[in-house]
Symmetry: C2
Subunit: 148 residues, 2 copies
């Protein structure tokens, strides 16, 4: 019963932090040389990633998008010069998504931003405390996996 208020406080913090981070990312992007992108498009670029050359459907799954939405997103990113489609030679139904040079530059910049954020997240923590944070995150991952 007493926990309820604590839960609400943590709830509010989680919501505020999440929407705040999105907002910051969006506005950092608008001020940057990549102002032609939206935050969703940037996250799609992050999901496509630099090394894996994943299939369109693998990326769609990561982002929880339907195939049609994935196609539209890849279209826009291709038109804007961040992504390249490559037909798989073994199985010609498959399209693999690659980042262009421009896409890779953005990818690294976005990762750097996230790293800075995580550094602040963990600021001033001992190893012991970091273990606790990991445990909390693992709890949430379990929650997500169980309900998926």
């Amino acid at each position: 019963m007493n926990e309820s208020r604590d839960y609400q406080a943590i709830n509010q913090a989680l919501i505020k932090v999440y929407s705040g981070i999105m907002w910051i990312e969006e506005h950092e992007l608008r001020k940057s040389t990549f102002a032609d992108l939206t935050i969703k498009e940037m996250h799609a670029i992050d999901a496509i990633s630099m090394y894996d050359h994943q299939t369109a459907s693998a990326v769609a799954k990561k982002l929880h998008l339907t195939p049609g939405t994935m196609t539209a997103t890849a279209d826009r990113l291709t038109k804007k010069g961040y992504v390249k489609r490559v037909r798989d030679e073994q199985d010609r139904r498959i399209v693999r998504l690659y980042l262009t040079k421009k896409g890779r530059v953005l990818y690294r910049a976005h990762r750097a931003f996230h790293n800075m954020m995580v550094a602040q997240f963990l600021d001033g923590m001992t190893d012991e405390e970091m273990k606790t944070v990991r445990k909390a995150l693992r709890n949430l991952e379990n929650f997500v996996d169980e309900h998926a």
Copy 2:
């Protein structure tokens, strides 16, 4: 240098957890009696909240929406019967947003879902560990405030 890999792991966990939670909320909603709502509309209802009778612009600010987008969202929620607009009698420029009975039922259900999630988030933690989690969240809140 060595921290970089840890950061990436926490990064990935954060991204996975947030997009996973969104997905779960979306799909719980679709299976419920509130299937006429999207996740964005539900979060707007959460932001409007039960007791405050906030102005449209206060809600817009909370959700980081432009005034126009707020109007469109309130339109849809009003049409669907979750929200009521009330002109302020003192200052007739102002519109206050109220939840209808139906809106309040959903609000409580959504809060309950979040509480369950937070409970799992904190599962099996000692008081000491909870303090650490709070500290991590406070760090992130500071990050958000600093960059806003």
